[in-house]
Every structure is written in C-alpha cells, then in structure tokens.
C-alpha cells in the first residue's frame, strides 16, 4: 500500500529533464539500458522475475500433482504433517495435498492478480491523468479533487471496502487493488504532464503553431511516460503483497482450494506452531516475487534519472 510516496518521489525531480530536443529520450533510454545491465540489483531483480513468470507459465509441467488432489489425507493428523520426501518435495499440507504442487500453481494466481490489477489500474489512472493533464482548467480541478478524495482513504481500507462490496472472488480482489492504484497513476501522469507542458521545448513548439493535441500526444505524453513505467513495475510487486494482505483479512478468491500464495500463507497461520514451514514457503515465494519487481523498478527509476548520470 505504500504507493502515494512514489508520487511524491517524482515531485521534486519531475519536469526538468531533456530540455530542447524534440526526441530527447532515445539517447537517455539506451544509456539507461546500459546502466541497468551493470546494476547488480537490476540483474537479480530480472532473474527473479524470469523464474517467477517461468514457473507460472510452465506450472502444469513443473508440478508433479494436481494442486487440489487430496489423496494423502489419511497420512495427515492434526498438527503432524508429513515433511519433505522423494514423492513430496515440500511435504503434505493439513488437508492432504502436495505442498510443492500448490506452491507452483500459486505463482499463476499471483501473476494474474498482479498483471490484471496493474493493467486495469494503470489504464484507467493514465486515462484520468491524461484528461486532467491535457485539458487543464476546470476538468483538471474536478478530476484532481476526485483523486484527492480517493487518496484520503488509506489504500488497504479502500481495497477492503471495495472487496467487501463486490463479494468474495478473485475478480473483486483484482478490482479492489486496481481501484486503489487508479488515483496514484492519475496523479503521477498529470504531474509529469504539467511539468512537461511548462518545459521550454513545448513553449517553443507552441510558438511554432503546432496544435495543442499534437503537442500533447507527440511530445508531452511520451516524455511523461517514463515514471509511469517505473511505477507500473513497482505496482506489480505491491499488488502481490496487497493481495496477501487482503487474503489475511479473509478477502480472496471464492475457491479456497485454488492455490494462491496469500491464502496459503494465511491458512498456514493456524498451524504456525506445529508446522511453521507451511507458512515459510508461500511467505518466501511472495517476498521473492515482489522483490524481483521492486528491484527492477527501483533500478529502472535510477537508470532513467538523468541527474544521477555521471
């Protein structure tokens, strides 16, 4: 839920890069890529993401069993869950299912939640931000007041409220997380665009008689998009963590048998004393996946910041 501050993060730096050149970012981008490759944080982050996405995509080939198969129920006793063995690499869960298979399939759900909520949140947010940033004036005022209202409610509470209203399902979790991200993207893009509009090259273009729409779409928007991409990477990470938080509060997909890391972590709290490993696996999975996106996003932000170029 710690996203509003990233908005603030861009506040003092936004707007004064790339002055004068009409296509200022190409040089910056290739330069950024080069610096990204040299940054160990970015490499680690990228590797983690690659593993995460790979596991999610190839889950049926990696997992030895179906995640819902409870054939091993008879081997389970309260508080005594069979540990790792040759057949079950990470042991059996309290309801007689293979933990490893559930963990592998869980990657799919987490990726799905992250990507969908990001796509929805960013698209709507960017649209709103575009509206405000492009038109300015009273449109800007109204839109930004709405954004202020949304931001005045703590993100998680907001998400719980939406999920509670929409009912128990994966869709409502994704919508809840997406809605929380809308004002963040809106404010981010609008702030960037305002900064760009005041930049010298825009003033120059305007004095050359280029139309307002032309300026916005050909110059202002592309140049304002960099922070949105950075924010998007970080939002993916946060969405995975937020989904876990919602699961902890009892708001997640309607089918509890469907493997999902946040839910697995929450369910494991019941047996935390007798089988802490059941909480540790999904906990680590969440941390590593989210860390991958965060590391990459942070490195990206840094690489794209012209002030840090030496």
């Amino acid at each position: 839920m710690s996203t509003p501050e990233q908005v603030a993060a861009t506040r003092p730096t936004g707007g004064d890069e790339a002055i004068g050149s009409p296509r200022p970012t190409r040089g910056l981008r290739s330069d950024a890529l080069r610096r990204l490759r040299r940054n160990p944080m970015a490499v680690v982050g990228f590797t983690l993401i690659l593993i995460f996405v790979g596991v999610a995509v190839f889950a049926p080939w990696i997992a030895p069993y179906s995640p819902k198969d409870n054939s091993w129920l008879s081997e389970v006793r309260p508080g005594a869950y069979p540990g790792p063995s040759a057949e079950h690499w990470l042991g059996i869960d309290p309801l007689g299912r293979d933990v490893f298979s559930r963990l592998v399939y869980g990657a799919r759900q987490s990726l799905l939640i992250g990507v969908v909520s990001l796509a929805v949140g960013a698209t709507v947010g960017v649209g709103i931000g575009l509206l405000a940033g492009a038109f300015g004036g009273w449109v800007d005022t109204v839109v930004m007041r709405l954004v202020d209202i949304m931001l005045s409610v703590p993100g998680l509470l907001f998400a719980i409220a939406i999920a509670a209203m929409l009912g128990q399902s994966l869709t409502s979790v994704m919508i809840a997380i997406a809605v929380v991200n809308i004002p963040i993207f809106a404010r981010l893009l609008r702030g960037e665009m305002l900064g760009q509009r005041a930049a010298d090259y825009v003033l120059a273009a305007r004095s050359l008689g280029i139309s307002r729409a032309g300026i916005v779409f050909r110059h202002v928007l592309p140049n304002s998009f960099t922070p949105v991409i950075v924010q998007g990477t970080l939002t993916l990470a946060l969405a995975i963590v937020e989904a876990a938080g919602l699961a902890f509060l009892g708001l997640s997909g309607s089918d509890p048998s469907a493997p999902e890391w946040g839910r697995m972590l929450t369910d494991a709290q019941v047996a935390l004393t007798s089988a802490p490993q059941l909480a540790l696996y999904p906990g680590l999975a969440i941390v590593l996946a989210a860390l991958g996106f965060t590391l990459l996003g942070e490195s990206l932000r840094e690489a794209l910041d012209p002030k840090l170029r030496r």
Binding site: S2, R11, V153, L157, L272, V287, T294
Partner: protein, 334 residues
Amino acid sequence: MLRFVFRRLLQLIPILLGLSILLFAWVRALPGGPAQALLGERATPEAVEQIEAQLGLDRPLWEQYVQFLGRAVRLDFGASLQTGQPVIEEMARRFPATIELAIAALLIAVTVGIPLGYLAARRYGTWLDSVLVSASLLGVTVPIFFLAYLLKLVFAVQLGWLPTAGRSDPRARAEHPTGFYVLDGIVTGDPAASWDALTHLILPAVALASIPLAVIVRMTRASVLTVLHEDHVRTAEAKGLLAGTIVRHHVLRNAMLPVTTVIGLQMGVLLAGAVLTETVFAFSGVGKFMADGIVQRDFPTIQGFILVIAVSYVLVNMIVDIVYGLLDPRVRVS
C-alpha cells in the same frame, strides 16, 4: 501563512462532501444492506423489515443522506454495531492506541531510515549501497502480517522477551486518563505502567515500521544523491569546504525536504499497515476495529472513522506543507 492555511482548510470542504456521499452510497450498495448487520444468528425476514423501519431505511435516499450529514456535522455517527457503544466513544478509545503505535513506528523508521539512506548515498554504487537498498526494499515486499507473526514467534514466544498481545499487562491495574498508555503512566506517576505499555508497543511498531522504513531509506538516498550533484554543493566542494560542513549545511538540509513530505504521506500507509499489525497483536486500535467493521458491515463505525481519518490525513499533509515551507523558502514564494 494564515491565508495559506485558510485556503487549505477550504479545500477540505469539497473532499469531505465527496467522501460523505461516497461513504453513504457505499453502505447502501452493500449486499444484504444495513439492517441485517444488526441482527445476529437468528434473523428472520420480519425482524429485518422491522429494523429497517426503525432505522428509517425505508425513507427516500436523499432524506437519509441529509440526516446522515446533519448528524455527522455534530459528530454524531450513531453507535457501533460491533459494541453497541457510540462511535464517538469508540474513537476516543481507539485512536490514541493507533496514534501511539504509528508514532512509535515512524520514530523507528526515521531514526533507522535516514542514517541508512544517507550512508547508502555516500557509498553510491558500492556493494554497501546495493545491500542497504535491497534490504530496505525487503520491508515493502514482506507481507506485514507475516513479519508480525515471525517477530512475535521469535521475540515473544520463543525468547519470551516481549509480550505477545494487547497494549498492557492484563494483570496490571493502571489508570488511563488520556488513552495514550505510555503517556498515562507518566501522567499518573506510574513509570512501571509506562514501561509496560512501551514493551507492548515494540513488536507491533517494528513490524509496522518496515514499510515506511524502506521508503524513507530510498527517499533519503535519492534526495541526498540529487543534492550532492547540485551546483551549490559542487561549488562548496570546489571552495574546499570540509566534507562534514557540506553535509550539515547543504546536503542534509535540502535532502530533508522530500523526506518530510514522505513522512506526511506515510500516515495513510501506517493506518493501512495498522489494520494488519493490530490484528496479529490483538492491539485494540483503529485498524483492527475498522477491518472487522468493514467485514461485519458496522457502517456507522466505518463512516465515522473514515471521515475522521480523511480529515486528519488532509490536516497532517497541510502541516507537512507548512513545515516544508519553513524548510524551503522557495515554496512560500511560489
């Protein structure tokens, strides 16, 4: 300055109006509706109807909204459906707990985060930088309830150093005139009670601090880096000023600006985190009460609490902006 404060207060009005409409609409959009929230295990359709009539839920929507608004202005939010006590009393009981927790968490985050962020910036590009940044990012990626459980398992259950739950020792009898337990001990001249409250605060505060800590480390690092590259610092360096003086005089002062903003914005993050931390530690504050309230449709509580939180959020950010203005004269000019 006064005009600035006044203008910011005026901005509060549309936000509050919009929010009140949103909250009002939200309650009515809930599946089942409010009447069922009042009836427990043995609800019958007749009982639901009867309650709806008693509550005026059968009257036109706008009428209900005007009434709601009229009462909200007088701070009368009705009674909590969870406890049957007036919402305003629940606020008096629970806000001090969460404020105390949030201040402790912020204190930890700032005292640990700023030095670390500064260190990372000074060692920019080295392995220490990478380690510090990655470690602080862990704070954002660990689900906070998981961290809370781990902390509790290790420090409270296994090692027995700290208590597992609550705000004070259940066996102790202490007076709580203010509701801020640490303060209460001092006020009533009972240092043991203050100490007791402090020990109950540590674990939840550390768990809660993990998120703002990460942000503060990154922000401090970024702003110190930016400032280090700025002309006046380069000039100072060129003039041959001692490193220590540069740090104090220019770098940290300018770097504090964005950090101050972040601290203001962290209030919402802390409140959200408190929902999860308070649940794990049975800490009777706002967060837990609201999370339960949302699930149980305790809508008088939700309406009241969210309005108060939104007002304080805007107020805190206003104060932050004022402090920002004090730190940076340029802002006041523009």
